[in-house]
Symmetry: none
Subunit: 252 residues, 2 copies
């Protein structure tokens, strides 16, 4: 199995600085795999490395932990990167450009196309990034959320950024029109018409489409209703079956 | 302060069906508050309600738990809603439109502008939604993610959808998007359920829903078919009229 699952452009490195709980590192690995990211870097994980808690929480994303690299300083962890983003929920005194995950995702893709490697810094759970680490970054990233409650855990922050990165690389997919999920053939217009004629005949016989001057409107409304669901060919047969069943002579 | 909060465009209800761990319910409440959502509905939480685990995990979002409503059935939980989305990671055999969180977010804002209330169904952690619950939904929602690893926990799924909803409310013109065609009020889920129960009773009497071991599948397919067209309240009355007419004693 290949070490990387690159579908073209490499995604950003995820750099966790002083992460506290192994469980959270494992959840970050899962969020990364969700989004097709593979480069995890750890700076001074508090509880040591490797971590059983991380492996347990990462279930299914263990490969990302196994390939994670350990660093003593943030500087070493980001040495090979060209562009650095700092995720932060709080306003910062530092004068840095501020961007949303969507903007950053587009920028990372553009940079990757030009051979530039990007990384995203995230600080410890309790306190977030230090000003010294933020100072290393080119751009601050803030997830647009309810201003009264912006706190996300590490894995959620990675997920939102990774989700935007994944979508930005797959723009047609994101914009794709809704499609039915089943594999069934949609009914032809002829099949739809066949059902309409048959239903309307049954309703005429039952005296439903009266008074006669309202019949055209009623028929139009009925056809609109049944056509709107874009029934499949199988569903047309079910509808025929319903009319047959309901109009059959009752058992005594 | 954003326009959305001033205008009070209500976000979708989040409906957790058979949630297992209180901790996950608490995390969902946090994700909802992150995104400005407030309407949490619980159907048969496994470990009872209220839940200390939920309260502990919700830290900061306890108000949402305190206002959460408890229901015995999915039908009751969604009775007042006009449009229902089912979050699912797996492909489904059912023929339903499939949309991304971004598409759904725009649609929910447009619907709210037209007075239509939306809800999002999420199934239990281990197994996801049952086909019976999926059948109630108008649209399936799938988060576009690495196809090799699409699994998200409850709070993450809510976060991605809520994040898109929050962003869509800030996007100019989002709420001015597509409006329903007619001026008619869409049927509530309770009205839809009322029709289903009545139609199925008539079909049972006619011996249509046989053999009995196939009845659940047949009922699910029927409900899927009629729900997909998102009938209006007026159309529901027409459908009732059709059943009445077709089952009435024939004139000799």
């Amino acid at each position: 199995m290949s070490q990387r699952q690159e579908a073209g452009a490499p995604g950003p490195a995820i750099v966790l600085i002083d992460p506290q709980l192994g469980e959270n590192i494992g959840m970050v690995a899962r969020a990364m795999l969700n989004c097709g990211l593979g480069d995890l870097r750890l700076v001074r994980p508090r509880d040591g490395w490797p971590s059983r808690q991380a492996e347990s929480a990462a279930s299914g994303a263990g490969d990302i932990l196994a390939r994670a690299r350990l660093f003593e300083t943030t500087g070493e962890a980001v040495a090979d990167l060209h562009r650095l983003y700092a995720m932060t929920a709080r306003p910062r005194g530092l004068t840095k450009p501020l961007a949303s995950p969507r903007q950053v995702a587009a920028e990372i893709h553009a940079g990757a196309g030009a051979g530039r490697a990007a990384g995203v810094l995230l600080g410890p759970e309790r306190s977030g990034l230090t000003n010294d680490d933020v100072a290393l970054a080119d751009v601050l990233v803030r997830v647009p959320l309810n201003p009264a409650f912006t706190s996300l855990n590490l894995a959620q922050a990675v997920l939102v950024l990774g989700y935007e990165w994944f979508l930005a690389g797959d723009a047609p997919g994101a914009a794709a029109a809704a499609k039915p999920t089943g594999g069934e053939r949609p009914a032809t217009k002829a099949e739809l018409m066949g059902f309409f004629v048959r239903l309307e005949a049954a309703l005429d016989q039952a005296g439903f489409l009266l008074p006669v001057e309202k019949r055209p409107t009623m028929v139009r409304n009925l056809r609109t209703l049944f056509a709107r669901g874009s029934p499949s060919e199988q569903e047309m047969r079910t509808l025929h079956g319903i009319v047959s069943a309901l109009t059959a002579r009752r058992k005594p």
